[in-house]
């Protein structure tokens, strides 16, 4: 472990009644890094996010974020520490407008008293405007989020994630169901976010991962199989065996 690391996962094991969803998983993330995580179905990709965000408590192991242990903390506390998450299928508040969705994400402090008593701060409103422009939703400010197209919903959720100003962004399958063009734009957006933020992207789409041009971790059976650039992992025999498949298969 070194001081520049934002997140360290040490020997994380998650056991669901004997089934090991994660098995001694080790993973370190540097500040400002963009990291892609791939793996076959059931490799433990989503459980890995669940452990970091506090949804699942690891059976064994330690999660260190900014020098603090996250194990045993409640989800909202972890979120306030600076871990943001985008879900696999877009999870936005469909009955609220685009703007109201973003208000929920940018508002601080997140106490009931603040929300009921005070109106939103100007700088937060500016932030909302900025976000809506980034994800091309400025025209849809007052539309109900439920009326957006699938791609727009994905983007709205990414905007909500950015609006939370997390140090660590966990992005689960951001391009599922997007057109090729939208996929490219999303890849560019995520790349532009890294550097300032630390971003972890989980996806199946190899083209998309290649476009991210980042380090890749391959998960298999709950543990990290291989780490490196796209070229390295594509040549790795173990990865080829479990995931990419042999040419003759």
């Amino acid at each position: 472990m070194n001081n520049k690391d934002l997140l360290n996962l040490k020997d994380i094991t998650v056991s669901f009644e004997g089934f090991l969803a994660l098995n001694k998983l080790n993973l370190n993330l540097k500040k400002g890094e963009l990291r892609a995580v791939i793996g076959p179905n059931g490799a433990g990709k989503t459980t890995f996010l669940d452990v970091i965000t506090g949804k699942v408590k690891p059976t064994k192991g330690e999660v260190i974020f900014k020098g603090k242990s996250l194990v045993g903390r409640k989800e909202h506390k972890i979120a306030r520490l600076g871990v943001g998450r985008k879900f696999q299928s877009p999870r936005i508040f469909e009955n609220l407008s685009v703007k109201e969705n973003l208000e929920i994400s940018v508002s601080t402090p997140k106490s009931p008293l603040n929300l009921i008593n005070k109106s939103i701060k100007d700088e937060q409103l500016n932030e909302i405007d900025r976000l809506m422009k980034i994800v091309n939703l400025a025209q849809k400010v007052d539309s109900k989020a439920g009326s957006l197209s699938h791609g727009q919903k994905q983007w709205l959720e990414i905007a909500m994630l950015v609006g939370q100003k997390p140090d660590l962004m966990l992005v689960d399958e951001p391009v599922a169901g997007l057109t090729d063009e939208e996929t490219d734009l999303t890849a560019d957006l995520l790349k532009s976010l890294s550097g300032e933020n630390t971003v972890v992207v989980i996806d199946h789409d190899m083209e998309f991962i290649r476009r991210l041009d980042s380090n890749v971790s391959v998960l298999n059976q709950g543990t990290v199989l291989c780490e490196g650039t796209m070229e390295t992992i594509q040549k790795d025999q173990k990865v080829i065996d479990v995931y990419l498949g042999r040419p003759e298969d």
């Binding site: 965000t53 949804k55 409640k74 989800e75 909202h76 979120a79 306030r80 943001g84 998450r85 879900f87 999870r91 936005i92 508040f93 469909e94 009955n95 609220l96 109201e100 208000e103 929920i104 994400s105 508002s107 997140k110 106490s111 009931p112 929300l115 009921i116 109106s119 939103i120 109900k144 439920g146 909500m160 939370q164």
Partner: protein
């Protein structure tokens, strides 16, 4: 989908308010005392309905135990009235105690000698009890149907407890208020009942504004967020437990106020306020009126109860069938209630079905955009 927030044409809302206020002002002169008293009672029920709407319509917490808080408010008011009117009875304590050989006032009655204490107790005690029950339940992440069952079970616990305490609160007989005195007047008298009607009408409007204040803006949006996707709210950094406890506590306080007003206008509070059907009815009023629309809760409570008394006078024993039918109608045909249906363009769609109105052009979104363009 108009389960969201209340967006109605401003003119309609304004004219509605004018009509409503005119009706309230005219009611005491137009209606015979008996009918006025009924209206006052049903108006007071609309306050508990507003609470149900806050927790169920907005936050998605289907409580079947609001009767607890309703009855607590009623008991607070009745205890004060009984105790201030007990000077001519033996030991200067309420008359019923003599039936059970009680000579000393139970300790918890003491503070109810004070009108100021009672004024606060009517809403603070139910709110605290609701807050406590709510916090324990929400902290353990009990949700959905389990929450409903738990609230109903609590209701039965309270019902059985109150039913059995003859020596403390007159048990199943309840506490009568109509023959007690308040400020030198008989509570059941015509002039007092008229005053209670006014107080109720004002409080209903005040509660409506209060509820509106709660659901407007970001706090209300979080409540809707909790209803639609609670884990998402959590991962955004909010603690849903606090929000749910607050809103459940508010609903409890409103139920208490409602119960107190209902008690003084119906002349008695008894464990009957905590029966299972009554608490379910509260949910039906909101469901029929339109959950997630505050006005719907008020209208649902007043109209259903008024219909109930009119129908029961004309055709005794048939009301339960009508109420059941109403509920089935709402569940199958009007899932967003009558007001939700109106807001959601229901009437226009119905007219269209009979060919009475022109159909929307090929793409509804184009029309919507046009309208937006005209407004700018």
């Amino acid at each position: 989908m108009s389960l969201s927030k209340f967006k109605f044409d401003k003119r309609i809302v304004l004219s509605f308010w004018i009509i409503l206020i005119a009706l309230i002002i005219a009611a005491p002169t137009l209606l015979p005392v008996f009918r006025l008293n009924l209206l006052g009672r049903y108006l007071s029920l609309s306050i508990v309905a507003l609470g149900v709407d806050l927790i169920w319509g907005y936050t998605g917490l289907l409580s079947l135990g609001q009767g607890i808080f309703f009855a607590l408010g009623g008991y607070c008011a009745a205890m004060y009235l009984q105790i201030t009117s007990s000077s001519e009875f033996p030991n200067n304590i309420p008359e019923f105690f003599a039936l059970y050989g009680v000579e000393k006032l139970p300790f918890f009655w003491e503070p109810f000698k004070s009108p100021i204490f009672t004024f606060f107790a009517i809403w603070i005690i139910p709110a605290l009890v609701a807050g406590l029950i709510g916090f324990l339940v929400f902290r353990n992440r009990i949700k959905g149907v389990y929450f409903s069952i738990l609230t109903q079970a609590s209701l039965l616990v309270f019902f059985n407890f109150f039913n059995g305490q003859q020596k403390l609160i007159n048990g199943t007989n309840g506490l009568k208020t109509d023959v007690t005195q308040l400020f030198g007047q008989m509570v059941g008298s015509e002039s007092m009942q008229r005053i209670f009607f006014w107080i109720t009408a004002i409080l209903v409007i005040a509660t409506w504004f209060f509820a509106k204040w709660v659901v407007r803006g970001r706090f209300g949006n979080i409540l809707i967020g909790i209803r639609d996707d609670e884990p998402r709210v959590r991962f955004t950094g909010y603690n849903p437990v606090i929000f749910k406890t607050i809103v459940f506590s508010i609903a409890g306080g409103l139920a208490g106020i409602s119960g107190a007003l209902y008690t003084v206008q119906s002349g008695i509070v008894s464990p009957q306020f905590m029966t299972v059907p009554f608490s379910i009815e509260m949910v039906i009023w909101v469901a029929v009126g339109g959950r997630g629309t505050l006005l719907g809760a008020i209208l649902g409570a007043v109209f259903i109860n008024y219909a109930k008394s009119l129908v029961s006078e004309a055709l005794p024993a048939s009301w339960m069938f009508i109420q059941g039918g109403l509920f089935i109608l709402v569940v199958t045909a009007l899932p967003e209630g009558v007001l939700g249906w109106i807001q959601g363009d229901g009437p226009r769609n119905l007219l269209q079905r009979f060919g009475l109105k022109r159909k929307i052009e090929t793409y509804p979104s184009l029309e919507v955009n046009n309208q937006e363009g005209n407004n700018e």
